[in-house]
Symmetry: D2
Subunit: 338 residues, 4 copies
Amino acid sequence: MIIVLKSGASDAEIGSICRRIEEMGYRAHTIRGELRTVIGAVGDDRGKERLRSLESIECVESVTPILQPFKLASREVHQGPSRVRVNGLEVGGDRLCVMAGPCSVESREQVLEVATRVKAAGASVLRGGAFKPRTSPYAFQGLEDVGLKYLAEARRETGLPIVTEVMEPDKVETVAEHADILQIGARNVQNFALLKRVAEQPKPVLLKRGMSTTVQEWLLSAEYVLSGGNPNVILCERGIRTFETSTRFTLDLNAIPVVKKLSHLPIVVDPSHGTGHWEYVESMALAAVAAGADGLIIEVHPRPEEALSDGPQSLKPDRFATLMSKVRRIAEAIGRQV
Amino acid sequence: MIIVLKSGASDAEIGSICRRIEEMGYRAHTIRGELRTVIGAVGDDRGKERLRSLESIECVESVTPILQPFKLASREVHQGPSRVRVNGLEVGGDRLCVMAGPCSVESREQVLEVATRVKAAGASVLRGGAFKPRTSPYAFQGLEDVGLKYLAEARRETGLPIVTEVMEPDKVETVAEHADILQIGARNVQNFALLKRVAEQPKPVLLKRGMSTTVQEWLLSAEYVLSGGNPNVILCERGIRTFETSTRFTLDLNAIPVVKKLSHLPIVVDPSHGTGHWEYVESMALAAVAAGADGLIIEVHPRPEEALSDGPQSLKPDRFATLMSKVRRIAEAIGRQV
Amino acid sequence: MIIVLKSGASDAEIGSICRRIEEMGYRAHTIRGELRTVIGAVGDDRGKERLRSLESIECVESVTPILQPFKLASREVHQGPSRVRVNGLEVGGDRLCVMAGPCSVESREQVLEVATRVKAAGASVLRGGAFKPRTSPYAFQGLEDVGLKYLAEARRETGLPIVTEVMEPDKVETVAEHADILQIGARNVQNFALLKRVAEQPKPVLLKRGMSTTVQEWLLSAEYVLSGGNPNVILCERGIRTFETSTRFTLDLNAIPVVKKLSHLPIVVDPSHGTGHWEYVESMALAAVAAGADGLIIEVHPRPEEALSDGPQSLKPDRFATLMSKVRRIAEAIGRQV
Amino acid sequence: MIIVLKSGASDAEIGSICRRIEEMGYRAHTIRGELRTVIGAVGDDRGKERLRSLESIECVESVTPILQPFKLASREVHQGPSRVRVNGLEVGGDRLCVMAGPCSVESREQVLEVATRVKAAGASVLRGGAFKPRTSPYAFQGLEDVGLKYLAEARRETGLPIVTEVMEPDKVETVAEHADILQIGARNVQNFALLKRVAEQPKPVLLKRGMSTTVQEWLLSAEYVLSGGNPNVILCERGIRTFETSTRFTLDLNAIPVVKKLSHLPIVVDPSHGTGHWEYVESMALAAVAAGADGLIIEVHPRPEEALSDGPQSLKPDRFATLMSKVRRIAEAIGRQV
């Protein structure tokens, strides 16, 4: 932690801050410049938050951390990339993992039809929402437990593992019974009670980035799961909030190399939510793969114009099949497979 | 809902979309312009989301809603301003409601000291966190149930009602036992399971705006509480995420007149989280009152430099007392009291 | 400047970076922590940009500046607040400066009518655009030189000094002939050729913040004018770009206390552009004054529904007069006058 | 244009608005819904801005445009993709155009060395700044005319055409003498005087997106050049301002499919400025090509740690050569060449 003092800080003030830093268990290291005195607080940084409180002392101008605040999610603890096992699959290795399916589970027929079609096109995981986080209380809230049953049936029929969202701590057990991967949605990325609960069970967690979550905060949310006992975290970039309105969100592919530099965790990309328009999904899916994503998660619906949610961003099965053939070519070009 | 067709849409396509609109229970009204055909879907708009799915039809360029999607939170249902009763107080009337206290409850002594000081300065509600949403799993997570007990004791000593945060559905009952107002934090503004649960109990809810929540989405979150049976919602602006880094968040005071135009719900402002620096709290508190806010919520700590959380944005009790005297003058200038 | 090295940096690497720092004329000060080595580069910071280039060395994790990069705009050079003289007025003292008038000069009659009305209501400067920066090439581009003449006539009639925008270096001389304050618009805040040119003439400059300019960058733009020889800079907050769409921009009143802390320059606020809707102008104008702004700039049009530009955000003269009486009361409450 | 009235608008009010719309030369088309009356203004939309002014009438809730406001930049006027000729090259066809070179021209030797190296690696255009827009007045401002001479010499030596920035109207002629493509920088994207001037000369214009410019506004800036007489516009995405700080800007690759849908103009991508860190450049360059960009513009410097500007984001020539070989593979995978 670097503490910058205001110009004119007296020796007594500098001494008093150094003492406080040392009382907190750090070594204080003072650099007197021409215009400013800077104090480095050297030591284990678990008490960072308390050091930040020095900022409320009048002669302190700013307090800046040196280290990234996450540990288990960082490359320092785990240098190579992690691989997360999902049934027979592995996310984070050379083979890309493509998850596909409808936004919401709407009926038994719908989910079975989509599951069969996306499997035929090469998807390796079936996505589908049974519990739906909806901005409006008047919008379709999902089939809930019945939806889970339909997903389980689709898995039996097709062999595809299931990823589906869990929205509250009390439902973690139920969802984990039916799902192979538990999804934490963007709106719950800092629902810490929920993160702590999914950390206590062993199934992999797909952790979506929040719409205004920095990469650092996102990795701290991952750290909640990792430090709670579950090492199987897959990150999912799904678009952030910006001023631009021609897309629903701004899919932030920069997060791929940033995450790869800072963390060992695998990262997949959701171009459906990220752009909000089916016409943009293919371009951004290919871009994500070229940028080094470990997989994709894509909304597919047989009749998007009748979808109960997110129709505008869903691909029809045929378009998804075309997309998969292009994804394969990009994957090969960078030495990976689908 | 206004459906704009791409140029060149054929009569058959137009007819087919009109039929679909009417099947969904709307009246279709076609306007043929020189460059575009536009179809208005007229009728009750509860099925909006389904209309939006028309955007996935190839000849459709865009689908734009006409009405605000919330109802109970809107001025159309309730024209005058709502007043929310908290014990003997009223939030939303001529008298401003100032809530003050520490970010976290840290000890019995701390909370009692702050409670006495802020009451003396004129605060009418005591704030303090027992359950703390922390970005890092390694940061202080709050005293939890013990913290609630200290808050209850502070209420007995001072008579000040308590506002404190609840972070998960299972804790709503416990927190509601001790608190007079349940706070939903910014990170939980779209935690729909939690919103549904606080809707089922009668205590007022202080609903903070999320850091990337539009006013419209925020009012839809309020709508979850209102439509779930609890009419006692107080909105709280606390800063949004922008590119600017000289403040921790960008406190968005524009939200005050916007909320006053769109909704009848009272709105208070949190300049402590909104700016993140104690030096900016006073200016923004005064500005909030001048802009028409119904109250303030302000962090006060006797020794901010030792605070376990949010020290940099906490006022010392003396500064808070100075602030209160200035708030009083601004309130009088606009015909309100504190 | 603080240089943080990656973990595992060797002694040879550390030595080599220290040497480079000293070659550039700084003193290198090394702090070896448990996890990271940090090097402080101590000295005059005019070569900052070159130090930042150290970030391209593989063993360097980050390079962070310590000092604000502006000098003449900072409180360190000029501790008390600056006052900018405009004819007989002073901007930055106890008396607020309210500038008002139409977005565009549309006709002789319009500008004279508005000038008379806003003067009667208490405005002390007349605003009006003769050269208009318009997003679309097909929109009304201003009356240009004729507009300047009408403004000059309005000044003769009313005695109000004129603030008007200059958009290109070649027009600085012409505009400075007629105007009392030269406005640099938000879109030109980093038009460095224009900044250099207005620095070479003595009339005060109203420097609008760009829609995505940080306070630091804005003060650096002011530094172009100050270091170029013109000390008469008035800053103008006019709203930034964020994700929120219920206002045209997000008027960032936080900038007021931030600027007051970092700089001695006066700051005025434009709630008309900042919100984009006349209904929100009054609230935000009062808030700006309460927050400590040194003045306001407000769009007034006798018939906004016929305005050639920015009608939706213009006040009618009667509403402006009401606003002024409220502004007076807020100003008194904080010990200032209008 | 769709005009939505407030609930309770009277017949007289509706009639008066319709009359006003027809006076402006539009056809008014009224749709009376249960909750709102909506009026469509049908007709040629060149007077849009004036229609927007209706928003200042009290009974009007909102005014929403239907059409995109640009014409010559749109797909409606020019359905297939445009190709821009630069000497023997074509930007916008099957062959990607890779522009590479230093941020600033620093010396004759530097620019010749880089030119030779990037040509050998397969670049087809040399970039380099002679006039530099710098946030700080104390930073290196470029070699100016001397820099142009060095660039011209590099072209003679290597045959590579030159792209370089022009920052003010008065320099357009000089820069156009030496450059093959005139670059308009992000900070000048709405410098309308400059746009009008480059429109009057025939050399291609590389129009960078501003850091807070929507795609719609960007295409309107292109429209200034097109409608001013120069059809040779190449768009360049270079990152937008968001809350995320792990990259310098957020490179918005979504802009590629959005621009391809709305416009016929070619688009290239600048991953160097977009990310601000050389370590992220390769991933984002490959992603841009996979997403359908027509080219790249990349900063290359022989000794980035000594660069006078933008060192942290510059690639060394060897890394650039590696990047080019990967770009070639991605290009082939999507059926294009370099």
